[in-house]
Every structure is written in structure tokens, then in C-alpha cells.
Symmetry: C2
Subunit: 534 residues, 2 copies
Amino acid sequence: MTESDLPVTDFHPYRWGDPARRTTLPAAAKETLAAFGVRTPEHEPVDLAGLTLPEPGFDLAPLAAVVGAEHLSAAAADRIAHTRGWSTPDLLKLRAGDLTDAPDAVACPGSHQEVVDLLAACERLAVAVVPYSGGTSVVGGLAPDRAGFAGLLALDLRRLDALIALDTVSRTATLGAGMRGVEAERLLREQGLTLGHFPQSYEGASIGGYAAARSAGQSSAGYGRFDDMVVGLELATPRGTVSLGSAPKSAAGPDLRQLVLGSEGVLGVITAVTVRVRRAPDTRVFEAWRFEDFEAGAAALRGLAQDGPLPTVLRLSDEAETSVNLADPAAMFAGGPGGCLAVTGYEGTAAEVAARRAGATELLTAAGGQPLGEEPGESWRHGRFKAPYLRDPLLDEGVLIETLETVTFWSGLHELRAAVVKALTDALTAQGTPPLVLCHISHVYETGASLYFTVACAQTDDPVAQWQQAKQAANEAIRSCGAAITHHHGVGTDHRAPYAEEVGPLAIEALRAVKQVLDPAGILNPGVLFESGR
Amino acid sequence: MTESDLPVTDFHPYRWGDPARRTTLPAAAKETLAAFGVRTPEHEPVDLAGLTLPEPGFDLAPLAAVVGAEHLSAAAADRIAHTRGWSTPDLLKLRAGDLTDAPDAVACPGSHQEVVDLLAACERLAVAVVPYSGGTSVVGGLAPDRAGFAGLLALDLRRLDALIALDTVSRTATLGAGMRGVEAERLLREQGLTLGHFPQSYEGASIGGYAAARSAGQSSAGYGRFDDMVVGLELATPRGTVSLGSAPKSAAGPDLRQLVLGSEGVLGVITAVTVRVRRAPDTRVFEAWRFEDFEAGAAALRGLAQDGPLPTVLRLSDEAETSVNLADPAAMFAGGPGGCLAVTGYEGTAAEVAARRAGATELLTAAGGQPLGEEPGESWRHGRFKAPYLRDPLLDEGVLIETLETVTFWSGLHELRAAVVKALTDALTAQGTPPLVLCHISHVYETGASLYFTVACAQTDDPVAQWQQAKQAANEAIRSCGAAITHHHGVGTDHRAPYAEEVGPLAIEALRAVKQVLDPAGILNPGVLFESGR
């Protein structure tokens, strides 16, 4: 399947994606894992259907009065389905039956005004609110700190899923925040258009989440990050509505859209987003290249980013990731071409693709790249949404597997990669579980690039604590290199402390002051981005 | 002269630019003006050298202690040279000898820390501060509201003019905020690099002003707006320092750089800016095209912006501007090719220029463009910094001439242009001074474009009030079309009211809250961007 014909799927609380596409581990992978000391956990995951939850500690009637009783639920299944996100610790907690972060109820408002009214009602009830869109946060963004509140409401935006407006002259589309990325792409393709946004969470994530968490997709080289695409936003707050976006760009003060983008639900609930759309490509070529080592490959990517032409998709795996080949479960651990694999993808008209491909081929060849042809490129393209499906069987087998990411300027990239690999390796080895640490570049800019790490090792008896220790070490390495604590996963609750260090106390104080204006009672995602202060 | 060999010039308080490049009006222009009822003003401009100013009403010693007595001045000439900016009302007021907005003193700190210390000292003295960089504001950004303060200090950043760091791997340069654009370009060219930022104010403007006011240059299609170039900022505030920019882009919360960009000195003083730089072009081609009418030309520009390839420079004059030919004083009012003139400029390597030019030529031809060759394109390029020099002799002759600009989405562009032309024409005709209204597109985006208007008519006896009335009508037209109140001039004090309408009361309250954190006493540019509230 390709990105425009994937189905919209409601995920199982702790199993990723479309049940029909779930996967098992190849034998080669199991053998390799045994060598890492991986043992199948003693306990099967807890059966969530057998669990109960306490009754909500607040009156649901005022909320039902806003959204209608049929759009409000305190049923255990609904609350469990809105518990936390998709980080490995989130999954491990659910597997262990830990429902401490479950919301007390789930409301599905049907309009922007209902969101505004719901927030006002929650403010009166002193109920904290977690805005919920695709639910794919991997940084604890769906586990706010409800201490001091009467309870927690998950505000699920799924009913705000309309294509509200399409301006084919300006090439903008206004999309409801609850629209799934898959659905947005399908509707736009019907009009010969594309959003071009394909994050790894594509099967689950939604437009509002892309905006609130500054998503970046696999085609960011060609289509930009999601925050580059946004030209307008509707924000519902307990104090009313903020509408932003009178022009593509302007000098009318600070760009307040960029204050809402990345605000992760703490300043308000994004209910609609106006995005720039593009003509759907009619031609697509994906191919792969081999570089002798990561440094040589990174230099080639930097050349493309700085002097062009840029492919639509541009990635480079390090030696370890190249040898593991995560994108193709069938070939996983089967060995690869050695060196470092780069993938280049070109989309557009036939003439655009031909011109960009010719220019990039010239540069990649001059940079020492060895062309591997279209087959491994197409293989990556077809396999690219499969990787998240691997995590579930790996966790079943007793593997701790998780990812993290960062971004820095080109001149600091190799130091950053070495520091994070060392931090993760040292921290997990010290716990008796030496890890495999894989890394790739998947987003490039003229001045820098992201680094995405995948870590796998045997689980200890307390894999959540085991990972937290490793993650803490990685965070410290990132901070010591002066890099950003996250490239596209977001801050959530997990990155709150290093984020505060990164931007400094005055910036956090400024954000708090903005929150105080828009959400004076502090009900919106308390403890996400910064300490709730209650 | 070209953009990299213009001299750094200190402008006369009300005469633009390099004295050696000042110009006079051609005879054809004077004849045309007479037909508009233009009469030479009865009074010559007041001789500023003969004016005195009251002594500062606060103690200068604590400020001298920070910057050194030699970098602090209360001399009339220095204070007059820092009075207001370069809007036509600003010039008319100075010509009339109105020094009511003159600062009480001018301080030139020599380091970021001195700026921090100076702000702390001003806070203690209850002295308002106007950050001053190139001084080229045309929106009243240098005339804050000092009511309630002991006085006003102009904080001139000219000594912060160093190339602080150059990272040739990441292609970033860290520049002192007081560095002039001309000097930045000269220093970068020595390294084979370019910033590529050439606003109309290029001869006077500075790096800090580009950032604080979200400047856009004539090559924005190729190099982006200034806010696109910024990857890092140092902000001095009365509460200390905010350092932003750990990566090109990230998901670490809101992009706070975009909160500082466009903040026009009300949140802090930008002391250094880290910008993305590019390889200097080795090839450059400018040419011109004729379109039958503005609609046809705009459709062609939209095609280039949405489907590419984009030239480095892309502009389109409407029929009126095409006939006047502002770029070439010698040919002004001499008639032109009729229809609408577009200028396309291509810069880069020879191969890049050839490829982009071929693609753009194909699209422009298909869109009905008639190629006029390189001569008019080169003529525009060589004349492009001359237009501001025309204003002084026009004012001398009794012409009211001023510009304003806006930006909207493509689908609303023609309605916006018609509404603004009508508003200006009606408002000035009603005052007995029917105007000439010229318009061009000079900045394009995938989803929209800017409109830049030049207005000329005979001065009445009170030309400041005359213009304010016309400007008010234009603002209302812009607001009624839902467009942004400014594309690149900024908000200042002139656009404060329509800006508040544009973003709405909650957004203004949020900005005030940020200011309250960073500048609790409200000393920084009070009344710029929003009402000072004192």
C-alpha cells in the first residue's frame, strides 16, 4: 500500500496500526536477539478488557449538556483507549495494566464552539483537559499532571474531521483538527492535490496533532515540515477564540502561528488548520545509494541541502542501521550492502523529477556515493510504515526497543551522534543490557540535520525504569552538545526538564504568562511543556 | 553600483542616503506634477542646525557609567539624528522643525552585557528606551510613547557591528545587530558567501532592524524573507538575556525565535542574529517581461510561485506603475512599453541560472508574457536603490509621496488591490488632491503575494493630516479584505490599531503578558506594536 490508500484505523490501546498489517519477527531476528540475552517476559500483557476504573469524581452533566450525552463517555474501554500515547514506556505500562493516567471521561465535541464551551465548562468544574487527536504522542504529551484538579477529561477531536474549505487558487485547504492524515491525503488527492506530509505515525496521527506538536514527515525535504505548511489556525481557549493567519507571511508583529504550533495543547485546542497544499505528483522515483561511511554520506546530504537540488525524500542510515535494515522485516538482520545506505526519492512532474534527479545524482556521485538502483529505494518506500509494527512483537519477545531524536547544526552533527550513541550504550551496558544503537538522518536543512536513534536491548525486570535511565543519559548528551532536545517528537512531559534548560527560565516564564492569559485556571494539559505550577 | 559595493552611509536626518547619489527631478516629471496641481511649498525646510532641545530630565551619569561618557550624548545634533524614521510624515515633521519625538540622549553600548546593564539602569531611572539600529522605520517604530517616563533614551546599536562567528560547514553567520546590511554583505562576499537580503532600505538598514521588523528583501523569492534566514537570536531584556536557536528547526515547543522576530523592540533588544548564509552567486541574469494586464501578470507569477521554478527576484508592476517607471528617474513619466512590466532575476551558478531561467521562461511565455530582454531587467537592477532618493526632491516640489504595503492570499489579491486603490483615490480626491496610485507585487509565496502601493499627489497645507486621512482609508480597505496590515514595513505606532483588530484582543493580551515578563516596567518602545497601557 502507498500513502494515499492506507485505511483510517483506530489502534488497539497497545498494538500499533491496522490489525491486518501486524507482523511477526523473522527467525533471523530472533536468533540475533538471543545473542543479546533477550528472554521472553514471564507474564503475558494484562487483559485490559478485564480492568475497571473508578467513577469520575466530577459531574458529567454540564459536559454532556455541551456535546450531547451520546458524545460523552465514562466507559472503561473508551477511557483506556485514551490512556497515554505510543512511547515504549506508555506501551509497557498498559501491558502491565497500569491505568493511572486514564482520563475520567472522553468527550467528542462536534464544532469549534462546542470546544470553546467545553473548555469553559471544564474550567468551572476544575477539570483538567487533555486535547486528543490521533493519540500518537511518544513523549508523554497525553499524560498531563492532574494533581489539584477534580479529574481529567480527554477532549477527542475526531468529529472535527471536515475539509472545511479548499481554495484552489491560493492552494490552501482548511482542515478540521481531528481529520486523520490519511483521510486528508485521500480527500486532497481526489482534487489532484497533496499535503505531502507522511510522518512515521501517519496511520494514526491527525491534523491537529501535526500542528500542536510540530510534526515532520518523511518527505520534509520536498514538502517541508508541517509547521512550514500552516498558514492559518483556529484556537479554542477557555477565554474564547484566537484566529490567526491573515496572509502567508507578514510583518504584522511576531508570527503568533509559530507560538501556537508546538504548544502541545497547553495554550488552547487547535480546532482547524489552514495548510498550503501542492499539486499531486504524477511521477515518483525512489532509489538508494551506498556511502563508505556515515561521514561521507552526511557530507553528501549536506551538499544537497545547501547547494541543491533537494530530493523529496532524503535519508541516510548509519553503518549499524544499514546492517539491520529495519525497513524490511523480511530482510532484517540479513545483512546489507555494508557501508551506509542513503535513500533518495523524487516526486513531481516527469520533467521536475528528471531535472532534480540528474542534479542530485551528479552531486551524490561526486561525493563518493555508489548507486544501488531503484529496487532498495522502492523497498524502503513500500516498507516505510511497517517499522512501528515491529515494536509489538519485539516487546512480546522481551526486547526493549525505543527511539529518540534530536537536531543540530551540520558542524556539530558527528559529535552529537557519537555522544548520544555513547550515552545510550554506556547507560544500558551498565544495567547489564548492552544495546544495539542505530541512527539515521531523515530531515535536512541548509544549516543542519536531525538524528534519529533506534535503541534495542534485552528488557530488565523493570524496563520502564531501565529506559528512563538510558533516556536521561541521552538527554544529557544532547544538552551538552547544545542540540535541540527534540526534532519532531515534541516536548510532552518526558522532555520538560531538558526543554526548560534549552530555552532558559525567562522563555519558560514568558510561555507561562501566555498560558495564564489564555487558560487562567491552567486546565489545559497541565505539566505538558513546563511544570504546571499548581 | 551593485549591492555589494554600496558604501555604508549615515543619512541626513531627512534626506535619504549617500549625498553623492542624491538626485533631482527630470523636467518631464515636473510637467506632469504641475498637471496634478502641485505647487512648491511656501517655506523651505527648517534649518535643523539652528534648533535647540531641552536638557534631559533625568540623570545621565548612571548611563554613562555603563557605556562610558564618550558613548553617551545629549547633543542636539545627535538627538535630532535619532528622531523618528523615514516615513513621509516623519520627514515632513522634521522639515517643519517638529522635534517633539527627539530622544533626550543617545547611548551606544559596546557589548551585549552593556545593553543588559543599560536597560537595567533605564528601568531604575524610569527612562523609556527606543532601540535604534539603521533608523529606517517607516511606521513610527522610532517614536514610542514616553508619557509617564522620565525621558527617552535612543539605544543605538552601531558599535555592535562585528561578524561574531562564521560557521562555513553549517553556513551560518552570527552578526552584531548594529551591523549595516551593506557591511554584512561585503564581509560575507569576501568569504564567497551572501546573505541575499536587499530591502529598499538596504543603504541604511541594519541586521537587528531586519530581525526586529521582519524585513523582506527584493530577492525574497530566491533567498527568502529575513525571518526565514534567522536560526538564532540574542535578546537583551531588563530581566537579563534570552538566547534562542539550538537548531535550524525543532519540535521543542513553540518557535520562540518567531516571537522575537517582529517584536520591534518591545520585548527586548536584539543584540546578535545568527543567519543562514549561502554561496555567493557567480552568474546573474535580469530580464523583463510585458503582460497585457495586471491579472495576466499576477497569474503568471502565481504559476511560478506554486509550480516553479522561482527566479531569485520576481516583481510585477501594475499598468500605472509601469507607465511611470519609478526605477529610472531619467525615464520617469517618459512612457513605457504599456501593459504591465514584470522583472525576473536569476542568481546562482551558471547551470542553476540556466535551468531556472529556462523553466520560468517556458511558464511565463505560456502565461502570455512577452519577453523584453535583459536591458530593462538590468536597468531595474541598477536603478533599484534610486527610488528612495526621488522622495526628497518630490517633497521639495510640494508633492505628497508615500508608500504602503499589504499581503494576502492569491484568491483575494485583485479585490484587495482594487479596494486599496479606491480607498486612496477617494480619500485624497475628497481633499482636493486626486492622486496617482501605483502598485506592484514584489514578494510571492505559494499561497499569496504582497502588494506595494506608491501614492503621489499635491500637498495640502497640512500634508501630515492629509496623508493620515488617506492612510486610514487604506487601512480600513485592507482590514475589510481580511489582509495583513503590513507585509514588511512592520507595525510601529502607525499600524497599532489595525494590527490589534487583525490578531484580536486575546493575542494582544498574550503579547502584553510576554512583555510584562521580560520588561516589567514597560520601558522598551512603549506604545509600539500595542498601546503602552501606562
